[in-house]
Each structure stands twice: as C-alpha cells, then as structure tokens.
Symmetry: C2
Subunit: 220 residues, 2 copies
Amino acid sequence: MSTAISTDINASRGHDAKRRSIVEAAASVFCREGFGGANIDMIAAEAGVSRQTIYNHHGDKESLFTFVLSELTERMNTGIFRVLGTFPENPVDLQAELTAFAVRMFENCVCNRDGKFLRKLIQSEGDRYPELFATWLRDGPARTTSGLAARFARLALQGLLDITDPDVAARQFMALVRADLEPGLTVGMNACGAEVEKSAANGVKAFLRIYGKRHPPSTS
Amino acid sequence: MSTAISTDINASRGHDAKRRSIVEAAASVFCREGFGGANIDMIAAEAGVSRQTIYNHHGDKESLFTFVLSELTERMNTGIFRVLGTFPENPVDLQAELTAFAVRMFENCVCNRDGKFLRKLIQSEGDRYPELFATWLRDGPARTTSGLAARFARLALQGLLDITDPDVAARQFMALVRADLEPGLTVGMNACGAEVEKSAANGVKAFLRIYGKRHPPSTS
DNA sequence: ATATTTTTAGACGCAGTTGTCAAAATCGTC
DNA sequence: GACGATTTTGACAACTGCGTCTAAAAATAT
C-alpha cells in the first residue's frame, strides 16, 4: 500500500515536470499560431520533449488544446479569486485602496502570461469549443463580476458608496480601470507597470465620481 | 481609347463582383479558422468562385490575407468617421443624444459584420503583420479617440460638460458604453439591439455623473 | 543490480494544402 | 455569331503535418 503510493509520487516527479513544460509550450505555440497554425513538432521542440511523449500524454492535438485551455482557465480563476480576497473591506483611504486593488487585479490576472494566453485563445478559438468557452465565461468573468458586485454592495451598506445596482457598478469599475489600456489589451499587448497604475488611478477616480458619496454641500 | 475604357469598365462588372465576394468569403473563413486553419478551397467554395480565380486575383494566401485586412480596416474607418460626424453638436437633451450616438457607433461599427471580423482578425493575427496592425491602430482607434476627444472638448467649452482631460474622457466614454457588453465583445459575440441600448444608456448615465455639470446646490 | 516504466529517435503512411499549368467553358461586347 | 478576356475544371508536383510504429535509450522503482 505505502509502496504503491510512493511509486505514484516518485514516478510523477520527472513525469509531471514534462507534463507542465508541454502545457506551457503548447499554450505559447497555440497562442502564437492559432490552433490551425500550430503543429506538434513546434510544441515538442519548445517543450524540450519528443513528439511521441506529447501523444503519450494527450492523445491528439485537439485533446491537448482543450487540456491547455481548461488548465489556463483554472489557473486564471484561482488567481482572480485570490485577488478578489484582497478587496478593501474596511478602507480608510478608499480611492488609494481601490486603485491598489485594481493594479493587483491587472498584474496578477489580466496582464500576466497566463492571462494573455487565455484571452487570446478564447478570442481566437472560443467558437470552436462552446463548452470550454461557456465554462470560462461562467466560472471566470461572470463570477468575477458578481464577486466584485457583492463587495461593492458591502461598501455601499457601510455608507461609503452610493450604489443602486452593484452589478452594473462592478462592470463599470472593470471597464473604467482598463479604459486607458484599450485597445492594446484587446489586441494581445501586455501593459507595463506605469501604464497600468495610471489607468487604474484614472479609472478609480472616475468611478468614485460616479458612486462616491457626495460631500454635503458646504455653505461656501 | 473610349473602347478601351468602356471595355475596362464593363469587364470589371462581373470581375469586381467576384473580387468582392472573394473578399467577403476570405474575411469570413479567415475569421472562423484563423490564418493557419483557413484554406483556399474553403474560401473559393464560400465565394462561389474557383480556386484559380483567387490565385489570379491575389497571388497567394498571404497577399489575400493582407488585402482582406486592409480592406476591412478601410471600410471600418470610413464607417467610424461617418458616425463621428453625427456627434451631437448643439444638444438639447445631452443624455439622450449621447446615448443615441453611442448606439449608432455600436450598430454601424463595432457590432456589424465587418467590425466583428476585423476585431477578431486583428486579435488573432495582429502580431504576424506589424505594419497592418500599426496602420489599424493609428488610423482607427487612435483617431477615433482623438476625434471623440475634440468633440467632448467642444461640449466642455459650451459649458455643457466639466472636462479636464478630453482624451481620458473619450476613452472612458467608450469604455463605459461597452461595459455591459464585455466580455461578450472581446470574445467575438455580436450583441443584439436591446443589449446595446441598455449598455449605452447605463454608460452615458455614468459618464454624465463623472463629467456632467453639477447642478448648483439648491438650498434645500 | 535488475526489472519496469517512460522517453526518445527515426521512419513511415496517409491525408490535406499550396500553388501551377493547360485546355475547355463561359461571359460580355461588337 | 465571332471575338477577346475571364473563369472554370481537373490534374499535377512538392510540401507539410498528423498520428503510428518500432527499437533503442534513459530514467525509475524494487
């Protein structure tokens, strides 16, 4: 029994290393060349394994592709929810903390390697795999929006924001903090740090002009 | 001379009809399959012409692709600037007119067939053709933003808006009116009329809470 | 050290694609 | 109806890529 377990664990050392490098390489090549343009030899070369190993692990090109897609989706989602957990719950400087939150969201989810790959793969091949696409949509953006909405609702209850529809507010928040990065984001470019911070700052400022509590009119 | 000209013109009747149908079909197939996945036979079949005709017109697959891309870019840009010309200059109901403007922009540029195709082609193959991509970026989104910014600046001068940076305002306008349509737009779906109007209305309302003139505080 | 599993390398058949060619068919015009 | 231009058809060679197979090599477990 214990032997069987240790066998499993040990066998998966180099094994899983190859598995991972295959996924990385496949993501990169599929992303660069599209599903139709990618070929297994490229992926094998980039992964540093033989072509046969890829076939051993994943059967065929299509299976490899769907595996890569679901892998990236899962990774991305865990990242998103980890960052969602850092949403300012009891802010003292709402503007600064929302901006920092937005920057975290970008750097860890939207603008990193996985985010770029996933975005492009969904964009270019989403039609071909409706199930994977639906999964991504349901577990990713949809839950992100509602998670964000819930947190904005909480802030509204605390009297820090003036929100009627939290879902709309959440979508507008995402749209605003990325406004300055378009159309680069749409097109696969990854924004660098300074741009991200500027865009986030602009976006949050605008967001607070929409939903921030109006200062009671001082008798000036 | 006149014969030569008339020959040219007449010869180009069915000729240009085929030219157009080739471009349409190529756009559709490239968009669906990616450059690598598309093949000339598909395009020929969808265009209702023979494969040879495509080679006669465009030389090879790559030339056809770049031709399609520049054709779509040009079409899209003329559409955008036509709509930009309908921006409300002397609005009586700013919110309603901006909303209608946003809807026009979507229905004529972003959400129509060409818009969807161009977006997807730029997304998936933009890296491969840096020149075409740069042209698109420079003549399309960049000029759209600055054209929009100029018009917002005019409204600000008229005292109808309270804007400091018109470029930021323009980008935020675009981002807000499409906020409810994400991530569908990113992913190639075309929104239907009702969704577009709702999203535009929400976006414009938010935009005016950012940049609308504050009503002078009434002594309530 | 040995047995077992995994990986590699190379060759292979097969199917699909590209781009070319020449002859036949079609179209528009006079 | 005859003419010139365009399009179609079908065949072609060269190439590429997928997926399979086998024997050798390497890694791993016992």
